[in-house]
Symmetry: C2
Subunit: 347 residues, 2 copies
């Protein structure tokens, strides 16, 4: 996918030329807060007087976080933006701006970086977020993307990881484990392709989980929904490393325990079927898979009526005293301590 | 310098463990605006109601922007922070927060990253800036540092690149070309060392220019001085790529030309002497060397009395109509068009 019909070398544009070229289609969707975007020493942002600024940053490294054998550059650009916006959502905030820094080796052509930027700008348009700054430089090997997402929230609306209280409901949006199963399909086809480059990849019937892996979404819609419902979670985090790891963050920082019901964990049928085919436990895919970018949050029991009939939410457990620890109540009714390492790029 | 007495592998701590370990000594110097630092999905920042937020981001790649053969990791950490804060100063703003993302290969030990962080935290302490977020991940090769600097300014105090007016004075802080000459010394000693590893590097008498290269400072003191003097430049930029390149940015964005007087360009005697020894033109070192991180700005003539006796400032030229272009008036009185490419990491 790095071989486009026309190949322009990065050296031919130079650093300033490349930045100008890549950012010429940048649009501003929030002129009231993005006062100055690309083109000066810093971007200038101003939110309403009563709003706070949320800032989150993430680095994606080729060969560690993504594999260009199967991740198209446009999708990668989209995903890089979406997963950063997800962090702002996880604070119950609204993402408004991003800055993007990219280091790319000479293996990449101008056209390849155009694809990457096209995906990022598509995500910016979708989420009405402004690309207000960044840096484009060379690397000695591979592609590195660093994104900082900036958003706003009223101070009293911000939800931290540490507010879960005993008896709170544990809820999650959407379904889990799909992104992980999508990755399994892509890894399998990469392996098949290595053995026999003539074979076309067999991705049929896996559209949902592939999209979950390649083009995840930030749940800005849920933040809007919370506002409309008059709901403020007591704690929240986004599911980037897997349900078990995120639950552990919420419980540890809140000083509580929890009971998680295995049969309540929302799974898409495609996730379930593919997991079975791969001889994987679907529950384990949800617990440890990661990259679903759904929101995991806790709510007081008193809010139950507001959410019980909403298809976006699933109640998957409840908060217990710290001394009880974190436990998974299996389908058979047995209780198992939840352990989670989260994903570790150094292993 | 990667071989410390004790070597702890990055894998031994894991990603969460490493972040916790590296950030355990983080202090908050601005509790009134850094409402939430490291430890949640995003940092929370709130400035005074009448202030805007400035955001700038930069990526440093090993083998492109720095060479660990001669840049000690602690200095590198300090420099990485300082050069980002410099961008906030270049907007006439005050830096308040940073986020830091690091990708490091397994070549680096925990102790090596501790050194890097020690340098960054030392800079944070010096500049009273809070490290409020970041990401630490693995890379397939080398070290990549991405920093986002965040600062504040009253909207009416912000200085852009595009406000220079005809007849304005062109001024610069400190002296120029030193960082470039420091780099020449370091490159020479690296070369000598390659040929004969027994030889100790000969750095004597070069302390000033080595410090300019290895430990540059952001001119937050100048922003303070502007405030005290009641001065607001009409345009400003920091000197990262060399005087010629930065002047071109100011003039292009302001739609003006300029005359720059060669004999006014401030040079430290050490810079001058070393340049001569290396058979380099000291003026060219200042024009094209870069990395001095001084502030280049323009001021209305009417402000002349406020700055004429201040040792921090040198008036090096004046703004002319756009049609005159950018010209260097040489010591002999002859005029030469200024051309600048800036530094291009892709070449």
């Amino acid at each position: 996918m790095l071989e486009n019909s026309g190949r322009t070398e990065l050296t031919s544009l130079g650093e300033f030329g490349l930045i100008n070229h890549l950012t010429e289609h940048v649009e501003i969707y929030n002129p009231e807060s993005s006062l100055k975007g690309i083109g000066d020493d810093a971007a200038v942002i101003k939110y309403d007087n009563n709003k706070s600024t949320l800032v989150s940053t993430d680095m994606l490294v080729e060969g560690v976080h993504f594999d260009l054998t199967y991740a198209p550059l446009k999708h990668l650009g989209y995903k890089a933006i979406a997963v950063n916006l997800s962090d702002i959502c996880a604070m119950n905030g609204t993402p408004k701006q991003v800055t993007v820094s990219i280091a790319a080796s000479n293996r990449f052509s101008v056209e390849a970086l155009e694809e990457l930027y096209a995906g990022m700008l598509y995500a910016c348009k979708k989420y009405k977020v402004d690309l207000v700054g960044g840096d484009t430089t060379s690397s000695t090997s591979g592609l590195i993307i660093s994104i900082t997402a900036i958003g706003e929230a009223k101070q009293e609306d911000i939800v931290y990881r540490n507010g879960a209280k005993e008896k709170d409901l544990v809820c999650v949006t959407g379904d889990l484990g799909g992104a992980y199963m999508g990755l399994q399909i892509l890894e399998r086809e990469k392996f098949v392709f290595k053995d026999n480059p003539q074979l076309q990849p067999d991705l049929e019937g896996n559209d949902y989980i592939l999209e979950r892996q390649l083009k995840p979404e930030a749940r800005v819609d849920i933040i809007e929904l919370f506002k409309n419902l008059g709901i403020k979670p007591t704690s929240m985090i986004d599911v980037s490393d897997g349900l078990a790891s995120e639950l552990m963050h919420l419980c540890t920082q809140s000083g509580v325990g929890c009971e998680l019901y295995e049969d309540k964990i929302p799974l898409d049928p495609q996730t379930f079927d593919r997991a079975r085919e791969f001889s994987l436990d679907p529950t384990v895919c949800a617990l440890s898979g990661g990259e679903d970018y759904e929101l995991l949050f806790t709510l007081p029991l008193s809010e139950y009526d507001k959410i019980k009939n909403l298809p976006d939410f699933t109640i998957i457990g409840h908060i217990t005293p710290k001394s009880s620890g974190l436990n998974l109540i299996a389908k058979a009714g047995t209780s198992h301590p939840i352990t989670a390492q989260g994903w570790n790029s150094f292993k």
